[in-house]
Symmetry: C2
Subunit: 177 residues, 2 copies
Amino acid sequence: MAATLNQEKLKSFIRDIPDFPKKGILFKDITPLLKDPEAFHTAVALLAERFSDSGVEQVVGIESRGFIFAAAVAYELKAGFIPVRKKGKLPSVTERISYQLEYGEDTLEIHQDSIEKGMRLLLIDDLLATGGTASAVCQLVKKMGGIVAGIGFLVELSFLQGRDKLKGFEPHALITF
Amino acid sequence: MAATLNQEKLKSFIRDIPDFPKKGILFKDITPLLKDPEAFHTAVALLAERFSDSGVEQVVGIESRGFIFAAAVAYELKAGFIPVRKKGKLPSVTERISYQLEYGEDTLEIHQDSIEKGMRLLLIDDLLATGGTASAVCQLVKKMGGIVAGIGFLVELSFLQGRDKLKGFEPHALITF
């Protein structure tokens, strides 16, 4: 119940920015939530709490906005942090995955030595939109022998049905539009 | 004393990657430290502890690797988090600053409404190299009326003398090479 009240309050810190990044898109801006010390702390604590019994060893964060919540949740859970980055940014040997965007495709990389067989990982990102990015990262983690022990988002845009791409993972979102 | 021992141990988690991002550069890779739960937790806690008496209201993080430590330190200090991003990434009205790189220049942006006059800000980044980026962000914050209450880095490459560009701010680094 307390969590529900908190989640309603958190929602009020997300603001709409029309026509960003391009005309016709209503962007959900999380920076007012980040800037409010209580809202930011509550959001991180609630995300971490949701997965505190999941035996999480590592939290995976996706460049770049995804690093914000993933790193803070990793700290709260006393887990490690594994960055997933855009092509060419990680310095050592990587595994990579390419996935479709609305127009064209994108490639993400993770260090080959970051995931050990049977390791339990939590994926934390700020936004679940179409689910393409999160789904690609889950595939990558599984291909490397890791176990996706949970997926958490700050915001879910449910009308984009990204949840359908993450079947079997039961993603958790703090705020839903 | 405990802190010093911890810092020596932390240093052992930074690995050298030769010829990254280009030939002749010995890259300091922090991902082994991020991945070790105890090392990551200790590093964030030590950075936060150093500034716990500085009256920090907001922690400023620089895209994208800088988000990792800045967000976790913000969480530990119960402060807000303000992202500094590359050009065109922030959705609302921004202030921007351009600064020189070794070759060419780069531009960073911050939301205009993120900083209030007299607000006390802590800049946290993973690496102090030449100091160009941190110095540009400090100028931007001051121009907007904010007070740089502290600057903290995970790693300082002291032979690049970035500290000289941050005179008056007394930057703190956990690990020095």
